[in-house]
């Protein structure tokens, strides 16, 4: 097939539950490609000499390589190529912001002057991972001979799981400590079932267990197990404790009843499965007109969860315009299809309560757009005299999360920056304390699954070099000397 023929193939649609149907259940929205659609979509790739997709991938997956394998129907090879770089493809295929990464620079999208027409890399990645799981042909990596070294991983989000997976394969003994009762971090407590089935996350954890990783759940490092003791008992430690501290708006009325952080609302719904109440014991407030404040993935998840909890109306209030919405395009699209109302260029000023102390309204101010600010996005400017009140019976605050303060506050030896994140060397993940590495949201602030994973990889590699050589001050050189390993 020549390039012209390839460029003529239209993007292959992925079947989805209809908006009307899906807001009545928790099942996943896109249903995934079958083999034919995946192979056809893979044919759309023109095999660039310089693959911009791989350059845009935070972990540098050989994308044209796996697309070629899929085109030929060699799915086992395809998944093997992905897994060289990405240990959680079933997760990343579903939640990565592909349109801002691999699919952003894709030649096919450029050719059509339409980034949504780029090769559906994420969809094919998801297909391969699901194919592997469904056929039961999950290839377990071979473990190196035991090194006799023990490492601890704090937190079982994507960063921690990646470190655990890499280190166990390298022959080290690995123990993961997780504060909550299930492994997965944000993947289980934050991201909803309809976007990432929890079955996938638990399967990943099961695979790690099968490789010999020990999980100590409901164990809070810094409380159940002080960092000082962890350091005595283990040869090295990776901190992947995430950005679990919810930000509030700081407007009057925020502690009224019916006002929840996104974390609380989503934790009730997802981790505690409150959508299946009373079969599960944890309740959730089912608002009739729910306002979510914020414009990221977290806000989309809240607004869409609210619909599934029976809200008649679900509104998003966001202070910038549509182009600045930080959420994945697909999430915004799905939210709109489901009937989420976007109130853009609006900012909450105050929450108003009724006589029982429940929230009953939100005082909102309209915004205009000014000059670009330090983030390069145009700065919202309040429009004087534009205030109005929107009635509501529940408000979900989804304006971001800060690094989890538990470890820094109970273990001041580890250096932090002024946002409360742990300072770690970009090339190695080393912190200010010998033997202690960190990565993911605890270092980056609320970021993405793939960046957390990427940092986990880097840290695992450096940790391995540290355990073998004992070098710390020039660990970066020791890592390059080690080479080879990815």
């Amino acid at each position: 097939m020549d390039a012209k023929e390839r460029l003529a193939i239209p993007p292959q649609p992925m079947p989805e539950q209809s908006p009307h149907e899906r807001i009545g259940n928790q099942r996943e929205v896109p249903q995934g490609y079958g083999p034919e659609a995946a192979m056809k979509e893979a044919c759309r790739c023109v095999r660039c000499k310089r693959p911009f997709c791989t350059e845009g991938c935070p972990v540098g997956i050989d994308i044209p390589g796996f697309l070629e394998a899929v085109e030929k129907g060699d799915f086992a090879l395809g998944i093997r190529i992905i897994k060289r770089r990405n240990v959680l493809p079933a997760v990343c295929g579903r939640v990565c912001p592909q349109e801002a990464q691999c699919q952003l620079g894709c030649t096919v999208g450029k050719f059509h002057h339409d980034p949504t027409k780029s090769v559906g890399i994420g969809k094919i990645e998801r297909f391969l991972a699901d194919w592997e799981r469904a056929t039961g042909k999950v290839e377990m990596p071979t473990k190196a001979a035991p090194t006799g070294r023990k490492i601890a991983v704090v937190g079982s989000g994507p960063a921690g799981l990646t470190v655990a997976g890499d280190m166990i394969v390298l022959g080290h003994s690995v123990t993961v400590f997780e504060a909550l009762h299930k492994p997965g971090g944000v993947l289980v407590y934050g991201i909803p079932e309809f976007r990432l089935p929890k079955e996938i996350v638990s399967r990943e954890a099961e695979n790690l267990k099968a490789l010999g990783v020990e999980f100590r759940l409901s164990t809070v490092v810094g409380r159940t197990y002080p960092m000082e003791e962890v350091l005595e008992d283990f040869d090295a430690v990776f901190i992947g404790s995430g950005a679990g501290l919810p930000k509030f708006m700081g407007v009057p009325g925020e502690n009224l009843l019916g006002v929840f952080s996104a974390n609380e609302y989503l934790t009730r719904a997802n981790l505690m499965r409150a959508f299946d109440f009373p079969a599960n014991d944890t309740p959730i407030f089912r608002g009739r007109k729910v306002i979510t404040v914020g414009g990221g993935n977290v806000a989309m998840d809240c607004a869409r969860t609210a619909l599934r909890m029976g809200a008649g109306r679900s509104l998003i209030v966001y202070r910038r315009s549509e182009t600045e919405l930080p959420a994945r395009i697909e999430e915004v699209h799905h939210a709109k299809e489901e009937g989420v109302e976007f109130h853009l260029l609006q900012a909450p000023l105050e929450l108003i309560g009724d006589e029982r102390g429940w929230v009953s309204g939100m005082k909102i101010e309209k915004m205009g757009l000014g000059e670009p600010d330090s983030s390069g996005r145009r700065r919202p400017i309040p429009i004087k005299g534009s205030e109005f009140v929107e009635e509501t019976d529940s408000v979900l605050v989804a304006i971001g999360n800060s690094p989890n303060p538990l470890i820094p506050s109970s273990y001041p030896a580890v250096e932090t920056n002024r946002w409360g994140g742990i300072v770690a060397n970009e090339a190695t993940g080393q912190t200010s304390v010998r033997g202690v590495f960190a990565g993911g949201d605890i270092v980056l602030g609320a970021a993405t699954v793939i960046l957390a994973m990427g940092q986990g990889r880097i840290a695992a590699r450096a940790m391995h070099a540290y355990l073998l050589t004992g070098r710390w001050d020039d660990l970066e050189q020791a890592v390059s000397a080690q080479g080879g390993m990815q």
């Binding site: 504060a179 909550l180 009762h181 407590y189 759940l217 409901s218 164990t219 809070v220 409380r223 159940t224 197990y225 002080p226 679990g244 501290l245 919810p246 509030f248 925020e254 502690n255 009843l257 019916g258 929840f260 952080s261 974390n263 609380e264 934790t267 009730r268 505690m272 499965r273 109440f277 009373p278 079969a279 599960n280 014991d281 944890t282 309740p283 959730i284 407030f285 029982r356 102390g357 989890n404 303060p405 538990l406």
Partner: protein
Amino acid sequence: MHQILSRETIGPDVCRYVVEAPEIARRRKPGQFVIVRICEGGERIPLTIADADPQAGTITLIVQTVGKSTLQMSRMGPGDLLADVAGPLGRPTHIGNFGTVVCVAGGIGAAPLFPIVQALHLAGSRIVTLLCARNADLLIMEEDLKAVSDELIVMTDDGSRGIRGLSTDGIRMLVDRGLAIDHVFAIGPPVMMKFVCKLTGELGIPTTVSLNPIMIDGTGMCGGCRVTVGDATKFACVDGPEFDGLQVDFDELIRRLGAYKDREKEALEHFRSDCRLGQ
């Protein structure tokens, strides 16, 4: 999984459990709590660690039946397993020799107060404990508290035991008696703590309270446990559970505690009907 080693009824709808939890027993300090999940599908409920035995590797929990989860727990006994016990959580109580300390226990509040009294006593404080309840049946832990207090005064609202009156009456009585109080610790129903703090505020006595808002994770991740203390919003599970009582907005706390009342009732009904079906 954590095994329940013993269960003993110590009041109407109040049970004392000894639970196997060696790491928590070794590290817990007064004022800290655990988050318990009874079974798969269960809620995460905060329970104060009332006592611990590091040698035996056990902790003591005192639980009043108030909803579905606690009712379910009250039907468990020796040998049964709790799905998760996470802790110790929260900041430990600041313990020291505070001089003369009045410790006010309201109802089930005697349980969280006990380890604090014990530690204050060891640190050399002089302790007068006011053990208060609505009626005689609801008094718990009298002997335990007596053993670690210099003086223990029993009070009931209806006069069915000890002195008749509210905890605030007890504090006034002590002041009238000429007792120079350096510090008050008050743990009990939020309404009780509110009125104690109103009084001690007027009397200018520093007062520490332990708050029990609704919690989920207990690790500072959800903000569901937020309380207003002075001008600031605090997360009770990580910044507390103890706070300067004179600064706490109790009305807000009381309102927030009622947030899921209807839903909780529903869960309880559901559980009761399920149990009937199962019989």
